[in-house]
Structures are given as structure tokens and as C-alpha cells.
Symmetry: C2
Subunit: 434 residues, 2 copies
């Protein structure tokens, strides 16, 4: 049994490792086009900012580790030219052919091109891979730019704003929209904009960038430009092999993460996942989902029958020192999905003020028909990740606001208040439900 995995970052290495744990005898080969595997790509902005001293710290295991400890063949700097399912073969660039019994496609995503004049100038950088980060770092060290423009205010754009401020640059953030994280929510946007402005980020939101010059972007000084207008799944190989893609160009998989071609699985940013609230396939490219899908794809590739249940759309990021987390549906997404949402927004402390409590802001989205929790956004200095996870769990379980408002959450002055901000928000939502 030969399992071939294309892609060696989050989903790919999870799949290979899980397959090995479940099957000691399978031959397992991972094909990775870059020079590194198994690294924390989400940590790269924090290497640029200086929180992480050495990029090597982001590498969970070097390729040799997998070879030596797990008996997984890892071939770096290896590009796949074609997948030929009829002959169960992967063709490498250079002509070599690999015969596979099962295949896991974990080719990830890549930044989309920005169709703006000047985007190909040498001071413009994408920020997606290990190599991208190293190219940018070299430029920052060698050219010592004083100002930066970031085009695109997604995860990467927001994290890079913080990172480049930390490197001492003046930062301007551009985005066509004036909303963030796909939430299209005034309440959340206002909070994020305030965070950015307070930290010293100049904002140019709500209009498209027209032109990038060698020293400016639309008249704003910029010695270096980060292009982060979004990502798209890497699915050319899959598509050419006859594998079905979905609406966003990501690979369609069933609940076992198998594609339309038997024996070929897909996981991570190149594949669709299932949205538990929309009750439909969805493309949500995140490291945590990639790892989970990889785990399931790896198990099923060696003969198990594990289901990947899906996601509710949880994410968190640091915006200039504060945490911003979301889970489930925003008010607008909920409405578009046919729900009739009511919302409640509260500001409350995470601990008693006599214990140095910090402000936490919570917005809850609740379905007025069923009373079920649909989504939530949380921002603050502390305790955001725990609250987002509580909401994600409540939403996954289908709890109604009425049930959740009395959730038996923990209390002790060093850690919590008697009424958690989440419960206060649930009470307010109940009040609106009448």
C-alpha cells in the first residue's frame, strides 16, 4: 500500500502522520514543492515582528524527523506536474512517475493576483509562504524602508500591520471594503478600526487601490508594499486530473474527505469543508481546519471510515495587541442564510475590577425563530480565545440562548466575574426575543 500526499504543511503532514499511526506497514511519501515541511505558517508574521527570534522555531519537525521517526518519505523541492488517476500515478516535474494506491491532495492555497498597475514592482511582496517571509525580511533588513502600504485587510494584512509597526515602519492599510474577517458588521468593524488607528495605522478603506508606484500607493508614501488581497485554492492539478471543484474553486469532498475519484482524498486550504450552520459545503481556509481535515483524510486514506463533521467558522487574530475572535454567522450572513437574527452587544469586564479586570466586548447573533445561538464576535485584551471557544461549542451543540444564559461557567475573582460577559449578552438577546 503506497500512500502519496501532495503538500507537506498543515493538512499534508497531519494526513501522513495519522496514516502512519494507524498503519505501521504502509509506504508513505510526502511531496512538497518548497524546501520546508511541517512549519507553523501562521507564525510567520510574528517572526517578522520580532516576537519569534528565529524562523527555525516555527518548524515543528525537519523532514529528516519524519523519515527517521515515522518512516515517512518526505521529498522537498519536488513539484508535481500531473496526477493521472486512471493509471494511479503522480508525475513529477522532471519526468519521474510515482505509483500510488491512495492519494491525499493537500496543495493549500495561494494569494490571488492583484490586478493593479505596479503590483509587480520589486518592492511589492506577497506574504504566504516560508520563502515569501524570508524575501520580505531580507528586503526590510537591507533596504530599511520607512513606510509600508498593505493592500488587503484580511488575516495577513491585519497581522502584517502589527508586524511592520513593530519593525518601526509607518503603516497604511488599504482595503476595498471597510469590513473585516468576512463579518461585514458595523459593530466589529468599528472596534477593529479603532484598534488599528490607536496603534498608529493609517486606514484607507472602502475604495480599491488604483496604482502602485515605486515610492507610493495612490499618493501615500510606501517604500515597501504587502499584497494581501486574499487567497484562492491551489487546485489546478486536481482539476486537470478530473477532480470536481466547487463554486470557489476548492475541491469538493464528501464527509470522509474523499473526492469524486475513489481513492483520492483532499484536505486543508485546497478543499471545501462543511459549514454546520449553513448546512452546506463552504470554503474556509484556516490552519486549524487544515490539521483536522488532514487527520481524517489520512485515516480514511489507509482504510478507516472517519467522518469530518465540519466547522462553524471560528477564527481569532491579534490586531495591534488586542484579540479579535469570531465564530458562527454574522448578523448579515445569518440573514442571507434565511435566519431572522436578533443581536445583543455588551461590554463587560473579564474579572472584577478589584482584580484588574479588562474590558471584553461581545456581540451575539441569535435566531429569533428557534432561539438558537448562530454566531458571536468577541474582542478584548484578555480571555477572548476562551469565550470564542465557549460560543463555538454552544453553537456546534445547537444551544438556544435560553439554555445558554444559565450556563454553569466558572467563577473566582482571579479568573472571572459572577456573570460572564457571554451570559450577559445572552440575557440581553433573550430580552429582545421577548
Amino acid at each position: 500500500m503506497h500512500l502519496v500526499v501532495i503538500g507537506g504543511v498543515a493538512a499534508g503532514m497531519s494526513a501522513a502522520s495519522r496514516a502512519r499511526r494507524l498503519d505501521r506497514d504502509a509506504q508513505i511519501t510526502v511531496l512538497e514543492r518548497s524546501s520546508v515541511v511541517s512549519y507553523g505558517a501562521c507564525g510567520l508574521p510574528y517572526w517578522i515582528s520580532g516576537v519569534v527570534d528565529d524562523a527555525e522555531e516555527l518548524i515543528v519537525h525537519p523532514p529528516e524527523f519524519f523519515e527517521r521517526e515515522r518512516g515517512i518519505r518526505v521529498r522537498t523541492n519536488t513539484r508535481v506536474a500531473e496526477v493521472a488517476p486512471a493509471r494511479r500515478r503522480v508525475l513529477l516535474e522532471g519526468g519521474e512517475e510515482l505509483l500510488y494506491d491512495r492519494l491525499v491532495i493537500a496543495t493549500g492555497a495561494r494569494p490571488v493576483a492583484l490586478p493593479v498597475p505596479g503590483a509587480e514592482l520589486p518592492h511589492c511582496f506577497r506574504f504566504h509562504t516560508w520563502d515569501d517571509a524570508h524575501r520580505l525580511d531580507a528586503f526590510l533588513r537591507e533596504q530599511r524602508p520607512a513606510s509600508a502600504a498593505i493592500v488587503g485587510a484580511g488575516f495577513v494584512g491585519l497581522e502584517m500591520a502589527e508586524a511592520l509597526l513593530a519593525r518601526g515602519l509607518r503603516v497604511t492599510l488599504f482595503d476595498q471594503a471597510s469590513h473585516f474577517l468576512g463579518w461585514r458588521d458595523e459593530w466589529l468593524s468599528e472596534r477593529i478600526q479603532n484598534l488599528l488607528r490607536t496603534a498608529g495605522v493609517e486606514l484607507r478603506l472602502g475604495r480599491a487601490v488604483r496604482e502602485i508606484g515605486s515610492k507610493e500607493v495612490d499618493g501615500v508614501p510606501a517604500d515597501v508594499v504587502i499584497l494581501s488581497p486574499g487567497i484562492a485554492p491551489n487546485t489546478e492539478l486536481a482539476s486537470a486530473a478530473g477532480i470536481t471543484l466547487g463554486r470557489r474553486g476548492a475541491i469538493v469532498v464528501n464527509e470522509f474527505l474523499e473526492t469524486n475519484i475513489s481513492g483520492i482524498f483532499a484536505a486543508g486550504d485546497c478543499a471545501e469543508t462543511f459549514h454546520l450552520l449553513l448546512n452546506a459545503p463552504s470554503w474556509i481556509a484556516l490552519g486549524t481546519t487544515a490539521n483536522k481535515m488532514g487527520r481524517v483524510a489520512g485515516a480514511n486514506a489507509i482504510g478507516r471510515k472517519e467522518r469530518f463533521p465540519g466547522v462553524v467558522g471560528t477564527s481569532i487574530l491579534r490586531v495591534c495587541g488586542l484579540a479579535v475572535g469570531v465564530t458562527g454567522l454574522s448578523e448579515l450572513s445569518a440573514r442571507e442564510a434565511g435566519f431572522r437574527p436578533v443581536t445583543a452587544a455588551v461590554e463587560a469586564r473579564n474579572r472584577p475590577s478589584y482584580f484588574g479586570g479588562k474590558q471584553v466586548s461581545v456581540k451575539l447573533v441569535v435566531d429569533s425563530a428557534s432561539g438558537r445561538l448562530l454566531g458571536g464576535a468577541v474582542t478584548g485584551e484578555e480571555g477572548v480565545e476562551g469565550r470564542v471557544n465557549v460560543l463555538a461549542t454552544a453553537i456546534t451543540a445547537g444551544l438556544r440562548a435560553e439554555e445558554f444564559q444559565f450556563a454553569d461557567l466558572c467563577y473566582s475573582p482571579p479568573y472571572a466575574t459572577v456573570w460572564d460577559p457571554l451570559l450577559i449578552a445572552a440575557q440581553q438577546a433573550m430580552h429582545k426575543l421577548g
Copy 2:
């Protein structure tokens, strides 16, 4: 309509305040036997330790606030001698009678007596009320004791160990049992014992204290003694009035928190609550439950019909700087309740090591028959409260380990790892379930 509330701390003031919000016209009187109402009793150990500078910071609102802002009559230093339901009257010590239409009993709990010779010596202190804390503080300032014995390792005992260490005393902690927090769990006990020993607390566990001398307890030097052998509900008034008490001496209430006598409600530490996992009444005296029950009792006392769903038994406390939290059933409690539990225990980081991640220890209890999560214990320096709350929510919602292992929890290096320790524990439990 005259609502009388007996007791003015957590449950009592919550009931009075909620009643006022829902009914602008009701006459509301709170009777409190001490001199303060509405204070954070759980913060008192942190005033002793010095984290809280001034005990006044623990007072949420002074009595005048309720009078002025909420139109609630608050009578401090007022002791109730008798409740006479047949005549709908509360008799105060001194002879005054109050006519009530609805009554909320929120008389709380008190430390049980310790039947040990010497327990009445003047250097022995209980630690339950505002006045207790002030008496102890005065003794510590005036007598400058060098050593302390704490008899009883419940919440108060553990918190006072930290507080008295912080005041520079040598501390010995005595308890008949060698387990903590009602969990009777080796794994958890070992962790808590290690925390205490590392912080410098001397432990005398597993045997009853025989005698308290003026300068020692069972031969261990002790210039001051804290008696914290546990608490019991204050229900003499209720019992004498014909109100039914349960097995532990706490007031029996229905889901609307009404007692067996129509129009008389009970809430907080004097009353039973409902345990969602045991599917039975249970006496769990905690500040957070008291506030929630008070809120519901207050609403129902003025004519609403709100249900208090119950609790799963969540608590957290700080033990010498580290957080220890539990929720749901311990392995032993689960077995005693007729479940067939399997457990999984893991140690993992709350964040990537390159982001200064700290160790978090998790023990999960899962029912092997249904696969449902039954309980969990979490300890660590950071992120314990959030994880306990995630488990409490999952347990309340009845999630199975199989569903929970893929919970869409948030990930970003400053806040989390790709696989949360909770999910790793759920995976391990799944593995044991086979």
C-alpha cells in the same frame, strides 16, 4: 405587593434587583443581619493576601445605593427571629413584624463547627463573612504571627494558604482527606499537592486533627489557626417555618425555585440546586450559582415563571498562583452515579512554544455507554477558565466525545495551538472507547 428578601449578599441582592427591574411598583425590603450587603465575599482572601488593597473595593454597592437608585429598602444589622407563613409575616429580633406577599430566603451558609479541642481558642478564626475577614486581618496586623495552621482544604482553606503565604507566614494545611474539591481524584490531588508543596505549604493530609494548642496544632507550630472544615446551609429559620429541607439540610425548591410553601422562594447557598448530570437535586454552594438562582427567584417572586435549569458543578480556584478548575462529574462520582466512565489525561501547551506557551493539564471523564462528556479537570498557569467553560458548555449540551474532538475552536499563535489540549484529550478518550 411587598417582597421581603432575607439575606443581602449574592442571591438576596440579585433577587431584589431583578424583581425591581421587572416590577417598578413592588415594595421591596432586604433584611441583612451584618453591616454590609452586596459584596464580593469570594474576594476576601485576596484582601487578606494584599492583592486587593482595601476591603471596600469588594463592595459592589453600599446599602444607600439600592435605596436611592433602585428603590429597594435595605435594612442591615437586622436579624430575623421567625418566619410565620400562615400569617405571611417575618418577625425581627426585637419584636417588629413585617407583612410580606412574597418571600425570598437567601440566608446563605456558614462554616460548620470543628469538634476538636482548642477550636474555640482566641487565635482560631473562621473565614466566611466580611466580619470574619476583618477580625483575622486585625489579628495578623496586631499579633504578627509567624506560622499558620489551616484546618480544612476546601476552597477557603486553599485560598487562605496562598493568602497567608503572601503575608509572610509559614503555612501548614491539614485535612482529613487527601483529595480536593470533591473530586476524589488521584490525578487532580497529585497536581494540587505539588502546587502547594512547590509554593512552600506544609501538608498534613489524610488524618483528622486531634488537638489545637495555643501555639501548635498536633505538634506543628501555629500562631494563628484558620478553621475551614466546610460549610452547611443556614436553614434553621426555614425549617422552623415548615419549609422542607433536603438530605444535606438545604432548602428543597422546584425548578421555579419555590419552596413547598407557596409564595416563599429560596436561592443561593441555603437552597438545593439541580444537577444536570445526576438528574437530581444537589447542594452546591457557589457564588455564581447563588447569583443565577437569585435572579430567577426574584423574577418568579414578582409573578414570572422562569425556570432555573440547574448546574453541572463548575468551579475554579487559584492555588498558589495556578488555576485549578473542574466541571461535571469526577471519575468516581460518575461511577457512583451509575455511569461507566473512561478517562483521558493530557499535558499540552496553551500556545505554541515559540509564543511562550504554558503547560495545561486536562483530565476528561467520558461515559463509555453513551460516549458523552461527563466531566473535566483543568490546571495550569493560563487559559484554564476558558477551557473549563468550554467543557461546561459541552457537558451541558450533552456533546459526545466523538462530536467534541472536532470542535471548531479558534487558532492563532498568540492565543492557541492548532490542537487544543481539550481536543487532544477528547481524541485520547475516543481511542479508549475503541
